[in-house]
Symmetry: C2
Subunit: 168 residues, 2 copies
Amino acid sequence: MNRRSEVVDAAERILEREGPDAVTMRRLADELGIQAPSLYKHVAGKTEIQTALQQRALERLGAVLTAAGADLPTLVAAYRRWALQHPRLYELSARHPLDRQRLASGIEAAAAAPLLRVTGGNIAAARAIWGFAHGLVDLELANRFPPDADLDAAWAHAINAFAVYCTP
Amino acid sequence: MNRRSEVVDAAERILEREGPDAVTMRRLADELGIQAPSLYKHVAGKTEIQTALQQRALERLGAVLTAAGADLPTLVAAYRRWALQHPRLYELSARHPLDRQRLASGIEAAAAAPLLRVTGGNIAAARAIWGFAHGLVDLELANRFPPDADLDAAWAHAINAFAVYCTP
DNA sequence: TGATCGAAGCTAACAACGTTAGCCAGCTCG
DNA sequence: CGAGCTGGCTAACGTTGTTAGCTTCGATCA
């Protein structure tokens, strides 16, 4: 039995239930019926937990995108839906620099694969699409649009603009 | 003499020189030759300082965009350039929710105006462009692209896709 | 069976954080 | 001259991540 993953599980639970500020070493230990310093028997520190959550988020997002479909609109819609359903996990995974040393290799590529499929292998186009999807989600999550903004329309415009890459 | 702005000045200096983690109340007080609690005679707390920096960043970015020009490519290029030149300030300003209560009104609109000009008043399109510019910058700043990624190409693709809105 | 040893818990503690309370010097103004 | 505001100070509190060092329990091995 790997206690490390139980720690990460608990961290995820707290993150979803009570937000990022609640994910504290003591609160985390509490969730496991343990004292804070004991966590360090299973985990190197808080940053390791964050990296693990980041990795989880990337895996799940990748899976969702892979299952989503092959055309740009549904793919992008799936991206947006996942992010809005798991806002804390999304923020954690998207905002922090990728620690490529610690991150299992292949995960990044797996998450990006569906995008590449949709652009017909055009890497630059895939990155551009990733960029606009992340940007719109990020602004939306950070409340950067006025409360009355019609975000669906903005997404539609962006999808429309990029559709050229998918229908050659 | 308004000491409040001196505090914010010092915060900005520390932010640029030593990064966000260094912007601490004690470090800030130190920069001003003062003890930490004295800061509270000029400023309500740390969040107020952050909001002030956010406002500054928005103002400057707005000014840069206004001066940049009237076509999409130069506008977007100016956006990217400013963000990469002031990465910490950009992160601070873009990642945190906007406190519209405290933020002087009009600043948001002023920053968005050049974008609107370029889309011919199409709000949804302006938001879409803002989204992709922010997204690409954000991913770039967070090291989310592989080290060998050709980001210029990604930007070019995005600009190209959106060019339809500017050349009717 | 008994000795050993590592895994996994504990308490105590440290440094740094944001913040509050309360005191005191000095300047300004009536 | 005295009142009061301005802006500094020290001491302290609660919380954060983390370390040191002790104990306890269960498995492994001679």
